[in-house]
């Protein structure tokens, strides 16, 4: 850290900074700053529920990602389990192909609501009744 920095910190109202003692290495910005990988974090609130994506962490590997994710994403909310997966390993199908998700043609054959029987049964019952009456 530069001497100027050290002087500045010694006049801080923060006692933690006043105490900083550094060897006179000079702080320099990196031209190509390095970064750990990113991992996506999935959080399960209670057993039986789905794991839900809650964000990401920077970490050198998956195990450290879990150590970090635990405090960044489960320090407050109830948590039963956490998953992490390298962001690079996520494959997505989505926005550019949004039209694929649209249902345009008649697809009620695969919905429960596409099957209505009551009226048929009612009509049948009526017709039987009618026959026996006549």
């Amino acid at each position: 850290m530069e001497t100027a920095d050290r002087h500045l910190l010694s006049t801080s109202v923060d006692p933690r900074l006043q105490r900083v003692q550094r060897h006179a290495t000079e702080f320099h910005l990196l031209e190509q700053p390095e970064e750990w990988q990113t991992f996506e974090v999935f959080h399960q609130r209670r057993r039986g529920e789905h794991h839900v994506h809650v964000g990401s962490v920077h970490a050198p590997d998956a195990e450290m990602a879990l150590v970090f994710a635990k405090e960044q994403f489960a320090r407050r909310q109830q948590c039963a389990s956490l998953w992490v997966v390298a962001s690079a390993h996520i494959h997505s199908l989505g926005y550019q192909n949004e039209d694929m998700f649209a249902t345009t043609t008649e697809k009620t054959y695969r919905e429960a609501s596409g099957y209505r029987l009551r009226h048929k049964i009612q009509a049948y019952k009526q017709s039987v009744q009618h026959e026996s009456n006549s």
Binding site: M1, P15, E35, Q37, T38, E40, P60, A86, S87, S92
Partner: protein, 327 residues
């Protein structure tokens, strides 16, 4: 926490013009109230301004940890000490969430941090003032977090998905910040004579930075029209400031405390608050680096960066490349 003092970039004249058809599609999506996701096509300016906005917000969180952090080792009693550590920790957590949200737009955290440390990036002015006494911590926790909530709730209704998701969690935590801040504030306000004096003194010193918090008056803000149309900027500075004053000035006054501004009053006709000239020249001086603590804040972050660098480098896996997160 972050205010409305955003410094958006000047429109880039060298940027490629946007494909009008895609632009129309993009704007129609925003008009329908749909969110924009990272993989979507977006106008060049939209991406640029959003990176700038979210990055500044992230920097403000991490810088915001410093003034209050100064009192962690001196917080009086277990309850205050634990709450303050948790609160400052949350602010660091907010920075973590926001850097990730900005990363989805293609700028890595390392690059953002570099820009902060070199002085290229801005952050909220309010954190360039020192927290001189314990009472300052209570004023920050109560009033500045309250102001930040007004701003962040507005932003959480914006158009960019990852930013909104981060803000949802942030706003949830901010409500704890406000509560613990108010609690500590009221403890002083209802305490001994010296405690009240300490608090009044802190209010006097923080009043102007708080008025500055939402940024310059609307008639001085440049190019916010397009950003509002794109739901990058969600509410005008004056609107947010008024909303804040309306909600929190009475809460301070009812405790028999005052603000150092004889012109501060609400116009019963219009419902708008009037305040005396807060010296906007000072706002610009501070945002351009010449505030009481700008240099100290930067060197504190340089220290943190230095603390982390050898650790990061020692466990860098050369095979693995940084990937843009989904956030």
């Amino acid at each position: 926490m972050y205010g409305g003092g955003y410094v958006f970039c000047e429109p880039d004249v060298h940027g490629q013009p946007d494909d009008p058809e895609r632009l129309a599609e993009f704007e129609a999506r925003i008009d329908r109230g749909e969110k924009i996701e990272p993989q979507d096509w977006m106008p060049y300016e939209y991406r640029r301004q959003l990176i700038r906005l979210i990055e500044q917000h992230a920097h403000s969180e991490i810088m915001g940890a410093l003034p209050e952090g100064a009192w962690i080792t001196r917080a009086p009693g277990f309850k205050r000490k634990l709450a303050l550590i948790a609160k400052v920790q949350d602010e660091v957590g907010h920075a973590q969430l926001l850097y990730s949200a900005a990363e989805t737009l293609g700028k890595s955290r390392a690059d953002m941090v570099n820009d902060l440390l070199s002085g290229k990036s801005k952050y909220s002015n309010v954190f360039n003032y020192p927290a001189k006494t314990w009472a300052d911590v209570t004023v920050i926790g109560f009033l500045i977090d309250a102001a930040a909530i007004v701003n962040q709730v507005a932003n959480s209704k914006g158009s960019y998905g990852p930013y909104c998701r981060a803000l949802e969690r942030i706003c949830y935590e901010e409500s704890f910040h406000l509560k613990q801040g108010y609690d500590a504030f009221v403890a002083l306000a209802t305490g001994t004579k010296r405690q009240r004096e300490m608090l009044q003194d802190a209010i006097n010193r923080w009043y102007r930075p708080i008025i500055h918090f939402f940024g310059p008056p609307d008639n001085e803000s440049v190019h916010s029209k397009q950003l509002m149309r794109w739901k990058v900027k969600m509410a005008s500075n004056d609107e947010m400031r008024n909303q804040f004053l309306d909600a929190y000035v009475p809460k301070v006054l009812e405790l028999g405390l005052t603000f150092p501004d004889p012109e501060l009053r609400k116009d019963p006709q219009t419902g708008r608050w009037h305040y005396g000239d807060p010296d906007w020249a000072e706002f610009y001086r501070v945002i351009n680096g010449d505030g009481p603590c700008n240099a100290e804040r930067l060197s504190a972050r340089r220290l943190a960066e230095e603390n982390g660098r050898w650790i990061r480098q020692a466990i860098m896996n050369p095979q693995q490349k940084f990937t843009i997160p989904f956030a």
